[in-house]
Subunit: 436 residues, 2 copies
């Protein structure tokens, strides 16, 4: 049982009056978070929480590198890309150095939504086509066009359905889908759905603009694609003249441990990569990186200018985050801690029948809860109960997936071995409480 | 003649390789800006420039209030709106206190583009209609849907034209349009075009969603609407069931001197107000404020969440900017300096036949250059020449308008009386050089 203090109650009441109602607050007993320190958060009573959820503070809550970079640049000059400044070039150099050589032209914006919007504009201008292939339960952002291509929104509560130029393919989900993890050809089989949709597009006398997918679908349920999936998909897409967009907003910068970007694990090179959330560690920052050919198509006479995108401060912060990720070995850390976390989580499945699947890579982990391991009936209410009880016990995680039955573990990257033990023990206890 | 140093040449070359080509750089001889101080900018050689152009650093380049607010909050906690934090409520309270009482519900985003995108979504959800009425040469942002409603882009170079649900009305431009400044009914007459477009919409069996306009069109050419224009427009729009959106991104926060927001000068209360650029003084920040009724319509089951929008740092910076504007009398300052600037500019029209019109309010000023005062033929090349020569002389202004022939003066708000003299003298000299 948590105690909600008077100041928290007052904030909830003010928020109801002043802020749009469709912005929900996490947890049954909302948290007033007043301080952060790497992988820990502190509420207004001084209580500490282990943060197993927030991927935006990638290098850690309140990392000094971000504060120092922002404060220093804010004292010199914060201006836009209509003037020259070395920060833009330094950041673009550092970022493209982490990517395949073909991805060499950068655009900087202020969020993942702005980045996906731009990726779509690049693809449309390059292909002169409009039809998109997207994944079931995908979420790519909150603008009108991005909701159109986000079945999680368009086909969810309050949605108006997706338009006819959006073609939804099943997720390559080896737990819930028809082809299972033990099928070595699962990737190729899931990719067949893309080939079929391309036929549908041609049948309606249209052409494929692009295939877009999160490199590991996060909102879709912390899904790890089977080997060979994206490579087969990209083959179909390119044959049809389409562009391959990798939304690496959730998976970039070493989170998945084995690779720096999610798409690398699938052994593909996208035509457009979209980055967001972690790259600014909370400073509003997004980036789109593409090939010279696509950039040339986009340079069709219409200016592309973002007032804040690529500003001297944005780039200073972006560079500080990237250098910290690189210089402090966070990718290797994520791989080691993530592996330990998975190893400690797996035995829980023997003790708790609610656990249907445990999956992940590095510090990108999902635990799917089901009421029945045969029918895979989603245990949505139990998942909500788990995260609320864990919050009461001082450990923060979330839920996601089409049925909101997947426990989402995606901590700040400094999350360590001891934290993994705390999280697993807490989950073990809570699952025990629920099943009794 | 300017000397472009080696480091500047290297930056230009790196930029061509690393950054999308449709992001142009200001001035024939690009500037490498390395330091800012209130209304002054400094290049890499230490040369000082008077900034008569940048409206984003509203309270001044590198204002300490922004640096301190950002650095302090970055050291405590930078997190999102899924948790409670007093900064969100404090900022929303302070912001709504500057607005008419009916505008009481806030949404915070990361840019003016994100804000206009959201405004459109609010209007569509509330009216369940799609057709928009927009101004000629208007610019509202860089997303797919915003380009659709921005004739400056959709009907400009590289544009695909505006879609059938977008209806463009002439600007209420008393210099270039059919009804002139000396016609007391000009406002009502220009508004007639909106009534006519509503008929067109009904004739195509559609309904009006919204009318959107910058309160003083800036990209459209620093235009000041005639009295009574927006009030007549809003009457037509509301009669047709449409929503009135005021894009006050360029004109908010006291810039126009006489009022805190541009729409107030027109004596109207919009249904949705959109804010951007100056409200974060360069920190990526945008806001949408609407009525409880529209917010209730939008709360239809679909979540609206912006990862960075309304974050603890965004709100700390937003609050610091707003408090500085309020506590240091910047609106009154803009009114006084703007009036002095206009008074000193007007005699230039007697000496320089290129000057067709001088207009403005507060520190939002436009000088329209024409080759012929009868035909009003735009002096586009001369305008470009003027800003480049002024840049060489150490004074930065820009051009805009449908024909890029309007000198745009929109300095950081600390711009003072002496700066006004420097700017006017420089313009006087440069116009003298050009005409000889």
């Amino acid at each position: 049982m948590n105690t909600i203090g008077e100041s928290t109650k007052a904030l909830i009441s003010a928020r109801r009056r002043l802020i749009g109602g469709n912005l929900s607050i996490s947890y049954k007993d909302p948290l007033q978070i007043v301080r952060g320190d790497m992988q820990y958060l502190f509420d207004d009573t001084g209580r500490r929480y282990l943060d197993g959820y927030n991927n935006v503070p990638h290098i850690g809550h309140c990392h000094p590198a971000v504060r120092e970079a922002a404060a220093e640049q804010l004292s010199k000059i914060n201006t836009n890309t209509r003037y020259l400044h070395e920060n833009l070039q330094r950041y673009a150099e550092a970022l493209t150095a982490t990517l395949p050589p073909s991805l060499s032209v950068c655009y900087f914006v202020n969020s993942g939504s702005e980045a996906n919007e731009l990726a779509l504009r690049l693809a449309r201008t390059h292909t002169n086509a409009k039809d998109m292939i997207v994944l079931e339960a995908a979420y790519h952002g909150h603008t009108t066009t991005l909701i159109d291509i986000s079945p999680y929104k368009a086909d969810g509560p309050g949605g108006a359905g997706h338009p006819p130029w959006v073609h939804v393919v099943p997720n390559a989900d080896v737990y819930r889908g028809p082809y299972k993890a033990n099928d070595p050809a699962a990737g190729i089989k899931y990719a067949e759905a893309v080939a079929e949709r391309i036929e549908t597009i041609h049948a309606r006398d249209a052409r494929l603009c692009a295939y877009i997918a999160e490199s590991c679908p996060s909102v879709g349920g912390q899904i790890i694609f089977p080997a060979g999936y994206l490579s087969a998909v990209y083959g179909h897409v390119r044959k049809a003249g389409g562009v391959c967009i990798a939304d690496d907003v959730q998976t970039g910068y070493g989170r998945i441990g084995s690779h720096f970007y999610g798409f690398e694990q699938q052994e593909v090179t996208p035509d457009i990569v979209v980055l967001g959330k972690p790259i600014g560690n909370g400073y509003p920052l997004g980036a789109v990186i593409t090939t010279p050919a696509i950039a040339a198509s986009f340079n069709n006479g219409m200016e592309y200018f973002s007032t804040f995108g690529g500003s001297t401060v944005s780039c200073a912060v972006g560079l500080a985050v990237l250098e910290t990720v690189k210089n402090t070995g966070l990718q290797a850390h994520a791989q080691q801690v993530g592996a330990a976390l998975l190893t400690r989580l797996r035995p829980l499945a023997d003790r708790h029948s609610l656990i249907g699947d445990i999956r992940g890579s590095g510090l990108f982990i999902g635990i799917e809860l089901v009421t029945d391991r045969e029918t895979l009936t989603p245990a949505t209410e139990a998942a909500t109960e788990v995260i609320n009880r864990m919050r009461s016990a001082g450990v923060l995680i979330g839920t996601d997936g089409e049925f909101h039955n997947v426990l989402k573990i995606r901590p700040p990257m400094p999350f360590g071995f001891d934290d993994a033990t705390v999280l697993v023990d807490c989950l073990d206890t809570v699952l025990g409480e629920i099943s009794t």
